[in-house]
Every structure is written in C-alpha cells, then in structure tokens.
C-alpha cells in the first residue's frame, strides 16, 4: 500500500511503513513493529551482554521499547527518517532496563545501523514478564489484552465474546496499553 507522500518525506522502508500505519494500515504497522523488534533484539542483546547482564530479560526490553514507540508515535516528525527516532527511544529504554538491573554506568550503545543490518529473529521460547504486568490491569482490560495477544483473537471476536461493542474493546485496549506503559516505567524507579 502506498502511503500518502509528503513533500520531502524520507523514502526508507521504515518511514514509509510508519506513514502507512499512521494512515490506518494495520498490516503495515504489524510488519514495521516486527522489523523494529528484530533490530531492537540485536541491540538489547548486545547491550545486555556488554553490561554483563544475562539475556533473560531481553524480550522485556524489546517489548517495553515497542510499547513506548507505539504510545509515542505522534512525536515522530514524518519529515524525518524513522530509524534515528526509533534508536533514540530504544537507547533510552534499554538504558532504563539496565539501570533496573543495577547497572548505573551504561556504555554508549553503538550505532543503530548495525542492528538494522543484523536483525535477530524471535526465539519462540523467550517469554517476557509482560504477562505478570498484565496482572496489574483491571480484569476486563487484562481479559482484552490477553484475548488479542496470547489468544490471537480479533477485536471483533473479542467484542462478541465479552458482549461489548468493538469501540469499547478498542478504548479498553488503548487504556490497558497506556497503563501497562506506566507500570513498566514505575518498575524502573
């Protein structure tokens, strides 16, 4: 799908996918987040291993960064390439993740280009703690997030099962994600 072209808009694949996503293309967004996740994984794994932290929490750092990217995507300027913006958020979140594990001094992470070039596929056995964080949500919200993520249900199917309107499910999902972001952040402090 061709995203609306803005004059002077960057032409790299990520920026184009994000423009399409903002225009409402869910498939493009899913593909973009998958791509970003693979580069984030390489980056987080590198940073964790240099800091001498085991890679048990790499997937957590990846997901927390993805959530931040999702909730803050309006701060991306469509006239600028997406990758540096993603990298800035990723570095911020990975440094946070390392601090949480008691690493005060974090070495500067190297250039994101490297991770763009060396993406890392997801290990199907690597699970994040996000499920534990879901426990902090209101039951209805937790149910909705679980249904859409773990059970792979659509919004429509979830709405039908819970006898809610689709709009209400979307609103609850959005609130749940926002509150998940806040919980993740609080676990830093």
């Amino acid at each position: 799908m061709q995203a609306q072209t803005i004059k002077g808009a960057p032409d790299d694949p990520w920026s184009r996918l994000m423009s399409a996503a903002i225009a409402g293309d869910e498939g493009a967004y899913r593909r973009l987040l998958g791509d970003i996740a693979r580069s984030l994984r390489a980056m987080a794994r590198g940073a964790f291993s240099r800091a001498g932290v085991g890679d048990a929490d790499v997937e957590d750092a990846v997901q927390e960064t993805l959530l931040a990217i999702h909730l803050k995507r309006h701060t991306w300027d469509p006239g600028q390439p997406l990758a540096p913006w993603v990298y800035a958020i990723a570095r911020h979140k990975v440094v946070d993740a390392l601090r949480r594990r008691g690493r005060r001094k974090v070495e500067p992470l190297e250039n994101f280009e490297e991770f763009l070039a060396a993406p890392e596929a997801e290990d199907p056995h690597a699970l994040s703690d996000a499920r534990k964080l879901l426990e902090t949500l209101a039951p209805r919200q937790r149910d909705i997030v679980t249904s859409i993520s773990l059970d792979g249900q659509s919004i429509a199917a979830t709405a039908k099962r819970l006898s809610m309107s689709e709009v209400a499910v979307r609103v609850a999902l959005h609130r749940a994600l926002k509150s998940l972001g806040a919980t993740w952040r609080r676990s830093v402090e």
Binding site: G34, L127, S128, L173
Partner: protein, 212 residues
C-alpha cells in the same frame, strides 16, 4: 508473553487522533497566559507613570531581554519534547539575553556614579519581584507541563527546567511593566534569581510528570 503476541495487541490498538505537540504547547501558553494575566490584574497592574518610563532605553531593555530569553527557552522546550531532538544551535541563542544584559550592566556602570550603584541594585522591592515572577510563571508552567506530557523527552528534568525558564521569561515580560526598577543592575540581579526558582520548580515537575 512472546513479542509477536505483544505486537498483535499493539497493532490492534486504533490509530489515535493525531497529537500535534506544537499546537498543544501554543494552546497551553494561551491558557497559562490568561491565568498570569489574571494574577497580574489582581495583584499588580502597570506601574504609575509608565508612559514616562517608556521613553527610556532602560525600560525597554527589560522587555527585549525577557523576550530574548523566553523565545529560545520555549523553542528548546518544544524540541526537547521529541526523543530525536537536536538542540545545539538553538542553545546558542540563550547566550543572547545574557550578553544583552551584561552590556546593559556595563553601560549602567559607566553612566551612573559609583555611589548610586548599590541603591539601584537593591531597588524598591526586590523581594516582591522574587515572589511575583514565579507566581506569574506558575500558570504558564503548569499548562506547559500538562501539554508536554504528550511528548517523549529523553531528559524530563531538563525539559521541565526549560519550560520553567520559558514561563519565567514570559512572566518577566508582564512583571517588567509593573516593576518601577529599570536599572540593569536591578534586572541582572533579581530577575535571574526569580528565574532560577522557576527553573528549579520546572525541573522537579519535569522529573515527576514528564518521564515516560
């Protein structure tokens, strides 16, 4: 939870109404400024003999300087609200108000006899100035912080501090029309101190409310 599962939840989340940070900040400034204006009207108002004072360079220097400080502070705040902010050149503009003020002080020291220096520096009511600038800045700072919560600053404390600086600069624009002290010696002493209070409060508010 697997990342692919997590992505499914993110992708299902609807596209939000586009948030335009710049517009939010402008709206916040307008609302905050109304608040400041109300405080100004209630507690201060323009000084007597303002028409007479407006004929002097000293009087206008206060406004030019406050503006030269407020504008780059505000633009920096807005830039810092984005994670991929580049701020270097803009930071240099913050030197301008200080250079201007220093020049004003130098001229004042040349044209005013030494015996007058201290009187002019102490002014009429410096403590009022120290209280009123932060008070006038408060609604602006509060509104700015609320607007900036939509941002994603990598340095929440610094961003809040600059929001405090911008608020203090705008507050100084208002206060300058009330304050009877026009000497650069007074302005260079008390205005920055009052601004520092705003910067400190802004930094704390930023750390508390702008982390994400």
């Amino acid at each position: 939870m697997r990342t692919s599962e997590f992505i499914a939840a993110l992708a299902a989340d609807p596209v939000p109404e586009p948030i335009r940070l710049g517009r939010r900040v402008v709206a916040a400034l307008a609302i905050g400024f109304l608040g400041s204006l109300a405080i100004y009207a209630l507690l201060m108002g323009p000084r007597p003999g303002i028409a007479e004072a407006a004929k002097t360079v000293r009087f206008w220097l206060k406004f030019v300087d406050a503006f030269a400080f407020a504008l780059p502070s505000l633009l920096l705040t807005l830039r810092l609200a984005r994670p991929d902010a580049r701020i270097r050149t803009l930071t240099l503009w913050l030197i301008a108000p200080f250079a201007l003020l220093a020049a004003g002080v130098a001229v004042e020291l040349l044209v005013v006899p030494q015996s007058e220096w201290l009187t002019r520096l102490v002014g009429h009511n410096s403590m009022f100035c120290m209280r009123m600038i932060p008070l006038l800045a408060a609604p602006l700072l509060a509104a700015l912080i609320v607007a900036l919560r939509a941002g994603a600053p990598l340095h929440p404390g610094l961003t809040g501090a600059l929001a405090g600086a911008a608020s203090a600069g705008i507050a100084a624009l208002l206060y300058a029309s009330h304050c009877p002290d026009d000497s650069p010696l007074f302005v260079a002493t008390w205005y920055p101190l009052a601004t520092l209070i705003c910067i400190g409060v802004g930094a704390l508010a930023g750390r508390r409310f702008l982390a994400w």
